[in-house]
């Protein structure tokens, strides 16, 4: 396939990223999806919408997030690298955002859109609880009622976030159907939406779902990459050689990658969750899945030969999803972005490494990215630069990590 003039012009007006994406929803939702698309086009062209979004990101979320050179981590990795190797590791510190992860960027954008559309009730799904907390936060901020669907399995392993959502005034509805995790929460979100189309806005948390969600989530999260690109140029007057981000649905990764897609010298690496191993239970849709249709879009999915969706597994609840955003499927198919994976064990090791070398407790999601960074840095020269997205902080994960390490707290 010929390289397009730009990698940043997707999707087409029908929401397709090459062979992926689209609008695979029930007829009841189709008029709403079209209405959302119209409303988003209008908002995107409205300077007042951007001004409000930017203002909230600055004064409520705390943006721009810092760009940080991880000197001690870089040194630690160089100790086990060949002579002259061991790239500089930099982090985009999105874990310092209000609510502790990148999810809030998207929620601010979507709730502003919901209010423009006159919607008065918000629903969302959540896996790890970060998107649920971010959604509950913006609902409290703007005084809208909020219902969060969360798998019963995730409620058990993310108790602190469940309590946070309740403190913020959200109603958390446990989902026991199917595998009782993120995909099932999304099914319940869609069921709620289809029954409450007149007043309800569904804030989808990742860059997936029916068009225009993958596009608008990407656009709202692209603040990560836009800031990082400008910060790199202003700090060291050059772009990084490699970008790294963890991928569940892929919103933090597409937010970092998208503004750099046309910078031909910048390589990019998305890191899926390999769970207990790619030959065992995992959540790596690209490495271990095949194209299919679920939750409104065509993309890589974990599925069996009959097209039944199989259960994902990752120690990180936020990566525990059997699909991936359609733009990543497209970027994978054309080879612009490389995709790899890290196991639960790799992530736990990287989690501890960052705690001890930098005094930063990362979430388990970016710990997958850090695991890949540790491997790649040793294969790159010392004058090269890796920029990884530290998309969430690990306070929510300390119980899971303690259990995995056999520590009673």
């Amino acid at each position: 396939m010929n390289a397009p003039n730009s990698f940043r012009t997707q999707p087409d007006d029908r929401g397709h990223f090459g062979d992926f994406g689209g609008r695979y929803v029930a007829e009841t939702l189709m008029p709403l999806i079209l209405e959302l698309d119209t409303a988003y086009r209008a908002a995107k062209a409205d300077p007042a919408f951007h001004a409000q979004f930017d203002d909230l990101l600055e004064h409520y979320v705390g943006r721009p997030s810092p760009l940080y050179y991880a000197e001690r981590l870089t040194e630690a990795l160089r100790e086990s690298a060949p002579e002259g190797y061991g790239a500089q590791v930099w982090f985009k510190r999105d874990e310092l955002n209000h609510t502790g992860a990148h999810k809030i960027n998207n929620c601010i954008g979507q709730i502003l859109l919901a209010m423009r559309m006159g919607k008065t009730r918000i629903i969302a799904e959540t896996g790890a609880g970060q998107h649920g907390v971010a959604t509950a936060t913006v609902c409290a901020r703007f005084g809208l009622p909020c219902v969060i669907y969360m798998g019963a399995k995730d409620i058990a392993r993310q108790a602190p976030n469940v309590f946070r959502m309740k403190l913020l005034g959200a109603e958390v509805r446990p989902v026991t159907s199917g595998s009782a995790s993120l995909k099932d929460a999304m099914n319940e979100g869609l069921r709620d939406w289809v029954a409450n189309v007149h007043d309800t806005f569904y804030i989808i948390g990742t860059a997936a779902g029916p068009h225009p969600y993958p596009e608008l989530v990407r656009d709202f999260q692209s603040v990560i990459g836009k800031e990082a690109r400008a910060q790199m140029l202003s700090r060291i007057n050059r772009l990084p050689d490699l970008l790294v981000a963890a991928i569940g649905g892929g919103s933090n990764a597409i937010g970092l990658f998208h503004p750099f897609l046309d910078d031909g010298d910048v390589m990019m690496l998305g890191v899926e969750a390999a769970g207990r191993g790619l030959d065992k239970e995992h959540a790596a849709s690209l490495a271990g899945g095949a194209p299919g249709i679920l939750h409104g879009n065509k993309t890589y999915l974990l599925q069996d030969e009959d097209g039944q969706i199989t259960e994902a597994h990752s120690i990180s609840a936020g990566l525990d999803y059997p699909g991936i955003g359609p733009e990543h499927s497209w970027l994978h198919s054309i080879g612009r972005v490389e995709y790899a994976s890290a196991t639960d064990t790799d992530a736990l090791d990287a989690f501890q490494l960052l705690c001890r070398t930098e005094g930063i407790i990362p979430a388990l999601e970016p710990s997958h990215a850090i695991a890949a960074v540790a491997k790649r840095a040793r294969e790159m020269r010392q004058d090269q630069i890796i920029l990884a997205n530290l998309c969430g902080r690990g306070d929510k994960d300390i119980f899971t990590v303690a259990e995995a390490l056999g520590v009673a707290i």
Partner: protein
């Protein structure tokens, strides 16, 4: 004429009856389908189980889980359809389900296999007209009706797009919601059916939330077909392999109510 169009040309509204394939087991489904026919169903809607049935309520979700617990595969669904066609050559069977199991081996494979099994039509919940290319052309080439859904949110501007490429019948989803919940107000059904019939010559069948003979009769006064699903599936859930007799009796009560619905008007 096809056996599907014949089913809507009997001089009375058609009763369309849904069950999930493989519930409670692939071996038990044929006798349940026979009971639907014996009770007076005019069209059989056979649900293809899916792990993520996001348009379905608790009753059909549970039916899917029972079907998977019994090990149902896509091959079993087609075997059930094919054996039904042999036993009941003049009763149309339509497959209802979700896009991924229908398209995973490619639309041409699905259309050819469905044609071989004698399937009359296909209803796919999550392929709207905008994404027709994923299934519609293959079905039409195989001579299988693509049955489209219209809903309370399908406005006049959008309706022509829904009707373009639709065949067999038009399925009016009377409630903005999932299967098995509340029924729509009769007045809204009447208004919608009149609007749809003004726009198409296809028979209009109404479904979602219909469970009593009285409700079925009320819908039958205005529509060309009445679709009942969750209430039948609940009987299967309750009686398991012994479901055929209660299902037959229930279907017979609906069929009688539908048959008399328009006579009441005439009288």
């Amino acid at each position: 004429m096809t056996i599907l169009s014949d089913a809507f040309a009997k001089g009375r509204p058609a009763l369309v009856a849904f069950v999930t394939a493989g519930d409670p087991s692939p071996d038990a489904t044929p006798a349940i389908l026979d009971a639907l026919v014996a009770g007076g169903a005019d069209v059989i809607e056979l649900g293809m189980p899916f792990t993520d049935p996001m348009a379905d309520g608790a009753a059909i979700q549970s039916a899917n889980l029972r079907s998977f617990a019994a090990g149902t595969k896509t091959a079993d669904v087609f075997a059930i359809a094919k054996s039904f066609r042999h036993r009941h050559p003049s009763v149309p069977l339509v497959l209802m389900g979700y896009a991924n199991p229908m398209t995973v081996r490619g639309p041409d494979w699905f259309a050819a296999t469905a044609a071989d099994a004698g399937v009359s039509g296909v209803i796919c919940v999550d392929i709207p007209p905008e994404e027709d290319a994923d299934l519609g052309p293959a079905l039409r080439a195989a001579g299988i009706d693509l049955i489209r859904l219209a809903t309370p949110t399908t406005d006049a501007a959008r309706l022509p797009q829904v009707l373009d490429g639709a065949s067999g019948f038009l399925y009016y989803v009377s409630v903005a919601g999932i299967t098995g919940k509340q029924q729509a107000a009769q007045a809204s059904i009447e208004e919608a059916v009149a609007r749809l019939k003004a726009a198409t010559d296809l028979p209009v069948a109404v479904g979602f939330g219909i469970r009593t003979p009285q409700q079925a009769a009320a819908v039958a006064r205005v529509a060309d077909g009445v679709v009942v699903g969750s209430a039948i599936v609940e009987l299967v859930g309750q009686h398991g392999a012994d479901a055929p007799e209660p299902v037959r009796a229930y279907i017979a009560s609906l069929a009688a109510a539908i048959a008399s619905a328009r006579q009441d008007i005439a009288a």
